[in-house]
């Protein structure tokens, strides 16, 4: 037997998980993040608000709104990557959490309309239309922004926690879990379609006037929403990175690759899955809350199964288990969508299917795999 080696020469100790605080990103990645933050907080606001529309450096309102929308999708794809890419649990119901966050914010925005609605009532138009005289109990306090913000986090969080607890404890896995999440979002969509649910039926919420007292369609408000969305994306990217780089992140990947071994190593996979599942749902809810004031509408179609499947496609196209990949995937697929739905609207779904098949066949690690592929 060789004499026992000193720890400093253990190869694994040098690379990953070493030191008191492992570095979050490489220097180059930090530089990219810095540039992104600069674009978000300086270049776009200046280009949109200060540069006159005729100039080549002008950033149009359309671009700001589109980019803000896409960044919301990117946050959702990032949340999907944590649960699917890293933990191996495919959710086909993530659109539900996104929509619930959106509805929570929408309730506040509806109440901010005040008496400026069509019927000049303190109630939203759809309630007047239904001949309701007062807000139902679950609309209580939603006139306060802080309360709506709390709902944005708690409603998707608690729903995901309770659903996840029973699903994971019953050891529901793989395709069965995917199908149940799909059914869950479908059931909620049917519920929200009903007028007497109290969320505006199939029209949902729209015609928002202001947020925190600021006119919601004013360029300044839009740019601020855009900036907050961008900073949230960067923040969640860093949070996701910190999680997957931690020992907990390695346990999640281990659950994906060999769950029984994880169990026989003394970890209870139920709680690890529940943690990342709930976190993922909360992140989706926040993305939904940022989305609604920017696009100006939320309705039950956000809960349709097709939307949730699209989220999975963003993640797969960008590259599962890479964090940055799904962000790129969400952007690429959404841009392709807004192009094709204008140019060839009836062919978009075929295109989407084709993209998915091509990526699965030729880019199993997605777009991010193109440059990360060399590593392994």
């Amino acid at each position: 037997m060789r004499p026992s080696i000193t720890p400093a020469f253990v190869p694994g100790s040098v690379t990953r998980g070493a030191g008191a605080l492992p570095r979050l990103w490489s220097g180059r990645a930090w530089a990219f993040i810095g540039i992104a933050a600069l674009i978000l907080c300086v270049i776009v606001p200046v280009g949109n608000l200060l540069v006159p529309p005729g100039s080549v450096f002008h950033v149009s309102d359309f671009t700001v709104t589109l980019a803000g929308k896409i960044m919301c999708y990117a946050i959702v794809a990032l949340a999907m990557d944590l649960i699917w890419g890293y933990t191996g649990i495919l959710s086909l119901g993530h659109g539900l959490f996104f929509a619930l966050g959106g509805y929570a914010m929408g309730m506040y925005l509806m109440r901010s309309i005040g008496r400026d609605g069509v019927y000049q009532s303190t109630l939203p138009d759809f309630m007047v239309f239904l001949d309701w005289k007062a807000y139902p109990w679950y609309w209580s306090f939603t006139e306060h922004f802080w309360y709506a913000a709390l709902l944005v986090v708690l409603v998707p969080g608690i729903l995901a926690f309770v659903f996840g607890f029973f699903a994971f404890r019953s050891r529901i896995k793989g395709v069965y879990f995917s199908i149940i999440t799909q059914a869950l979002t479908y059931a909620f969509m049917l519920l929200f379609f009903r007028n007497d649910t109290g969320f505006g039926g199939n029209n949902g919420f729209t015609d928002f006037k202001r947020i925190l007292g600021f006119p919601i369609t004013a360029p300044g408000t839009r740019v601020v929403l855009f900036m907050i969305t961008g900073l949230a994306l960067i923040g969640f990217l860093c949070l996701g990175r910190a999680i997957v780089n931690s020992k907990l992140g390695r346990v999640l990947t281990a659950i994906r690759d060999a769950e029984t071994r994880v169990m026989f190593s003394g970890y209870n996979p139920v709680y690890f899955k529940l943690f990342i599942w709930t976190l993922s749902a909360v992140i989706c809810g926040i993305a939904g809350a940022l989305y609604v004031p920017q696009v100006g509408i939320i309705n039950p179609s956000e809960m349709s199964p097709a939307n949730s499947i699209e989220i999975a496609i963003w993640t797969a196209v960008g590259g599962r288990g890479t964090l940055i990949g799904p962000v790129i995937g969400a952007a690429a697929v959404s841009l392709a969508k807004s192009f094709f739905t204008q140019a060839l609207p009836e062919y978009w779904l075929y295109m989407l299917g084709l993209i998915f098949i091509l990526v699965t066949l030729y880019l199993p690690r997605g777009i991010a795999g193109l440059w990360m592929g060399k590593r392994k």
């Binding site: 037997m1 720890p7 998980g17 020992k247 346990v251 690759d257 071994r261 026989f264 209870n268």
Partner: protein
Amino acid sequence: MAGGDARARSRSISDGHVVNRAVVDTSHGAILYLESVSVSFDGFKALNDLTLTVDAGELRCVIGPNGAGKTTMMDVITGKTRPDAGTAFFGQSIDLTRLSEPAIADIGIGRKFQKPTVFTDHTVFENLELARKADKRVWPTLRARLDSAARDRIATILDTIKLTSHADRLAGMLSHGQKQWLEIGMLLMQEPQLLLLDEPVAGMTDDETMRSAELFQSLAGDYTLVVVEHDMDFVARIADRVTVLHEGHVLAEGSMQQVQQNEQVIEVFLGR
């Protein structure tokens, strides 16, 4: 650290199963008691009134034809399968039939599967890090950092399983025999008292098999090992005592020589 231990212990108490998780009561010499255990799947009796006692520090081999119940026995001990009847005790006081798989792993029973199961997308080093005995609840795991004691321990185990030079390779890239060794190393990282090894030398070269025999013999004494194996030469080389299972029941028990001369055993193994 001390606070963490206290919390872990109070959790065990509140679970109502384990009073002191650090100490398995082996005052009567035995570490594992299976008594009249029966398990049936759709009428098929995988275990039929199985009674088996394993002494602390012994290296026990379990042999038997296919379907004799060897793997089911391990499933019962590790909480994967609940017995229809009978009891399974770890030491004098821990009732294994009432604990979950992670809890059983936590109190000191490590299990190696027939097919090597390692975390293929993690490096060898990370595999050992994850297996290491620690507070394995969510929050402590999120905040866990590798200290130098942990790194020393990993270095020692890497040396024991001869994978020091492969520490940074992905476990999925290892040969079959190396994966078997890595899995054994992961068990050792858990600091278990009882190791259950299901066909640990299957698919190993002669040289690797030989080194495994040396390893297991060096572990016996500090650990208790229960090895299920088909390779009779291997069993003959390492076993203190051999238990022969047949149709979910103990057919014979004793030294390899005694067992080999047992009439019933000869009948079951050769007389078909």
